[in-house]
Symmetry: C3
Subunit: 147 residues, 3 copies
Amino acid sequence: MNAQAGADAPAFASLYAEVQQFYASHMQRLDSGAADEWADDFTQDGSFHPPTLPQPVRGRAALAAAVRDAHAGLRAAGEQHRHWHGMLSVTPQDDGSLHVRCYALVFATPKGGEPRPHRSCVCEDVLVREDGELRINRRTVTRDDMP
Amino acid sequence: MNAQAGADAPAFASLYAEVQQFYASHMQRLDSGAADEWADDFTQDGSFHPPTLPQPVRGRAALAAAVRDAHAGLRAAGEQHRHWHGMLSVTPQDDGSLHVRCYALVFATPKGGEPRPHRSCVCEDVLVREDGELRINRRTVTRDDMP
Amino acid sequence: MNAQAGADAPAFASLYAEVQQFYASHMQRLDSGAADEWADDFTQDGSFHPPTLPQPVRGRAALAAAVRDAHAGLRAAGEQHRHWHGMLSVTPQDDGSLHVRCYALVFATPKGGEPRPHRSCVCEDVLVREDGELRINRRTVTRDDMP
């Protein structure tokens, strides 16, 4: 068929599926409060640049602590968050890393209530491979509601 | 590139794409009220464990009947539901089946109105292959709004 | 494993990943107001059949103009839209084109506010390959809120 993909298509498809599976596992860890496992998806010196802090959160210990705090707050409030990463644009870089630009939606559901969209964001990740596994070296998130 | 995937990556990518296509078709059948076609995506003895029933719904006839009833109710109410399955974590099992853990969102849109998130769920499926096709042997769904 | 995919599975996986990447880039262009780049994802004579117009929008110049107008309106209103295409059912056709039926959700986020679902749609695309790239030859969209 003339819609057939090019010679490098199988390699790209392998990467694309792996990135999707990586984010699925990564976000399921986040939403279940598995803070250390979530932080292990970053490199040792990985950084997270949220739009709400002047400095990035850097390193697995700090990343895990931030998630632990956030999850405790949600438990106390009786809310379940679900992070959806989607519309993944994956671009291999010359240095061997992967650049991912994607959308992120967070849905919040209170016990006994209906879910609501909580945040709409754009997430840009630099992924690298360590010991055969994808890891986040740098994450930058912007929020659609912020100027 | 050092982000290159391992030797089993093409096989995993094939499975991952097939599972995504399977769910797309499966949920489009559900939302269009194609109850029998939807039920045929289960094995003959397939079971669905919703959070709202003490016993699972078992077998294609019972599954199709449940969807037929639900769809008739939506038509009477003038609402269109859309089921989004995403953040798929797909894990091949030693017995040859696939375990999928994913998020599920249901959006409801009334005629003349704006869509609203209706349910946020976690879905765990055991998929098997029959006659070359993926089929659901067991589905377990939990709802984020329920304790 | 008996869940192993068939002989044509790698070719399908390559196409499926490419279509997902195509939509990610395409919708990111739309939401950032890159009207010409977005229109270039259509063939020269590509058409868009929205549910709100008696005639389709046809050709890249008209498509780009429509997006430029819509984006200017959103900027003036201080709203960011995000288009999510998902639940992609991709079917290669005998003539070499691809038929895609998928769901589309549009989320709208005002500055300083929470996101809300704005539209829930079904999108049917005919994709063809030109100069090695996927392009939309014909797009038909229906809205769940319209009769």
